[in-house]
């Protein structure tokens, strides 16, 4: 049976269809999880996609994190289920406390929409299992608040526990330690600012995002057989 991926839709999300498209192209099953839902509907993995949930009012993710569906996502994550936040989804997961740190305005105060190179730093996460560490992937970033920030203690912990999943080869936004993506202590919750779903077809200029989504589908299948 193909892995079932639930894609969360908040008012203001705008990358959910792209994620669904890629999951289906890779043979997975994808469905929308409405922000007002109180369950993840039997999903084997959850993606919190990019966009501007609730207009990014107050702070990106600050309002979205209180959506009913986020309680279900937190419970799913606590049970070891794979959860991936992309761009605004990463911001939502940090606000929800499912990932450490915070995303601040880019150091240069510019909205950045450009392809970047990312280095896979660990193969031990729901999004990178099976990948070779050191692999460089090219995909777009599209954000105003992508500067990853955390205190020294948290940074030391992330490094010591091998929880920096992706680093920018050439830091575009001032993120501490060039961090583009991190994972939870359980390694099943992953957040990243770049957009793998936008690097999923030759016509988009890169297919490097496919390996990440494929790894997620494999993590989902493992999670499904376990659960």
């Amino acid at each position: 049976m193909s892995a079932r991926v639930g894609v969360v839709l908040f008012p203001g999300s705008n990358c959910e269809q792209d994620v669904i498209e890629v999951v289906r192209a890779l043979g997975g099953h994808a469905e929308i999880l409405w922000h007002g839902d109180r369950s993840v509907g039997g999903a084997d993995a959850v993606v919190v996609p990019g966009g501007f949930a609730h207009g990014d009012y107050l702070r990106p993710g600050a309002i979205a994190r209180f959506s009913p569906v986020m309680e279900a996502v937190a419970a799913f994550a606590a049970g070891g289920g794979p959860v991936v936040g992309i761009c605004n989804g990463f911001q939502v997961l940090t606000e929800a406390g499912l990932l450490p740190g915070a995303l601040q305005k880019n150091r240069g105060l510019r909205f950045l929409c450009t392809p970047v190179d990312l280095r896979v730093e660990t193969a031990r996460s729901a999004l990178t299992s099976g990948l070779a560490e050191g692999t460089v992937l090219r995909m777009p970033i599209n954000h105003f608040a992508g500067c990853y920030t955390c205190d020294e203690e948290t940074l030391a912990e992330l490094r010591a526990e091998d929880r920096v999943v992706l680093r920018y080869v050439d830091n575009p936004n001032g993120s501490i330690d060039d961090i583009a993506g991190v994972c939870s202590a359980g390694r099943n919750v992953v957040g990243m600012m770049p957009h793998p779903e936008r690097a999923s077809h030759e016509l988009l200029g890169s297919t490097d995002g496919l390996v990440l989504i494929r790894a997620l589908l494999e993590s989902a299948a493992v999670s499904s057989s376990r659960g």
Binding site: L58, R59, A62, F66, T94, E95, P100, G101, A102, Q104, K105, N106, R107, G108, L109, C147, T149, C150, D151, G174
Partner: protein, 87 residues
């Protein structure tokens, strides 16, 4: 009792403030060469109903902790004073 509240949200010490830095860098061109230490935050105003000032302050502190600030990067300063209740 009703209280008028001003919450000032500021970045925690040590957290980079690119907006403040950009404003400060632009000031000499306007002739304000004597200005230092520019920081940018948010001001959030509202009224709250509470039994007394301590109760109001505790409620607002909880609201700041859970929602109005991200404690990873932000601090809040709370100012409040009693106002005549609206009818």
């Amino acid at each position: 009792m009703q209280f008028s509240v001003l919450v000032e949200v500021t970045l925690r010490p040590g957290v980079a403030d690119p907006q403040g830095a950009t404003i400060e860098r632009s000031l000499p061109a306007l002739g304000f060469t004597e200005v230092r230490g520019v920081t940018v935050g948010k001001a959030i105003r509202f009224t709250i109903e509470a039994a007394g000032e301590d109760a109001a302050r505790a409620r607002v502190a909880e609201l700041c902790e859970r929602f109005l600030t991200n404690p990873v990067i932000e601090d809040a300063r709370i100012e409040l004073h009693e106002v005549a209740a609206a009818r």
